[in-house]
Amino acid sequence: MAIGLTHYLGLAAAVFLVGMVGFVIRRNTIVMLMCVELMLAAANLTFAAFSRELGNEAGHVFVLMNFAVAAAEVAIGLAILVEIYRRRRSVDADELTTLME
């Protein structure tokens, strides 16, 4: 069985979906951040798959950019979470609703 671009795109879509569902249903903000990582991984997969299809490494460069963006996002996101936890003693998304009121 030959594995082509379509398979990779389908897999990436599934992974993205898993990440999205997780982001929506989970309450723990840290886990929600992890789900964002999962979605980014799915995006990376499509980049690499297209790169393979086109025979051009530009996609790899974008994946590298994505790595850096993900790292920066995690660093900032987790720093914010730690700060929130220090003040509120909780990282539950349902309890962080001050802006709603």
Binding site: V15, A41, N44, A48, S51, V82
Partner: protein, 171 residues
């Protein structure tokens, strides 16, 4: 070999992702996500991107998830506990809508475009660090610089956020 890597890595990535989303405790979720990212590294290897595969392990599994684990442990402590309440169950239904759309599109795409393997003949050394770095430092050097600035800003921001007002005892 590539077929095997696709199925193996795909299974690992998908199952790891699902397990990460479904697991109750955050540490479990982090562990499953590491597992998933190792699968993603396998997929990159299957896509002739060894540089990306190694960097995936190095950056995601090695640095990002360690950071996650560190913060989870710091916040939740050594006590095992899941989320206090059950996840919001009506939301998956909402999430199903895009799922259905994606599934329909994917199935249509799978049916119309007969799945053939990649037929591009790859140049020698495709995806090796040498070629990627030429591209990165010549064609995309502006983006490269931007990324550097982004990382610098992120570092400064994280430091500013992480600074505590309390004095450390040894200071």
């Amino acid at each position: 070999m590539e077929t095997f890597l696709f199925f193996f890595g795909g299974a690992v990535l998908l199952s790891g992702g699902i397990a990460a989303v479904a697991s109750r405790s955050a540490v479990n979720a982090a562990c499953w996500l590491v597992f998933a990212f190792l699968g993603a590294a396998g997929l990159f290897a299957a896509l002739h991107a060894p540089f990306l595969a190694v960097l995936q392990v190095l950056v995601y599994a090695g640095a990002v998830m360690v950071l996650f684990l560190f913060v989870i442990m710091m916040l939740e402590g050594p006590v095992m506990q899941g989320e206090s309440r059950r996840p919001r169950l009506w939301l998956p239904l909402l999430a199903m809508a895009p799922a259905v759309v994606i599934a329909v599109v994917a199935s249509r795409a799978l049916r119309t475009a007969a799945p053939v393997g990649f037929d591009t003949v790859l140049p020698d050394g495709f995806g090796q660090p040498l070629r990627v770095s030429w591209l990165l430092l010549q064609d995309y050097v502006f983006a490269f610089q931007m990324i550097a600035i982004l990382l610098l800003v992120a570092m400064v921001g994280a430091l500013a956020l992480g600074r505590s007002e309390r004095k450390r005892p040894w200071q």
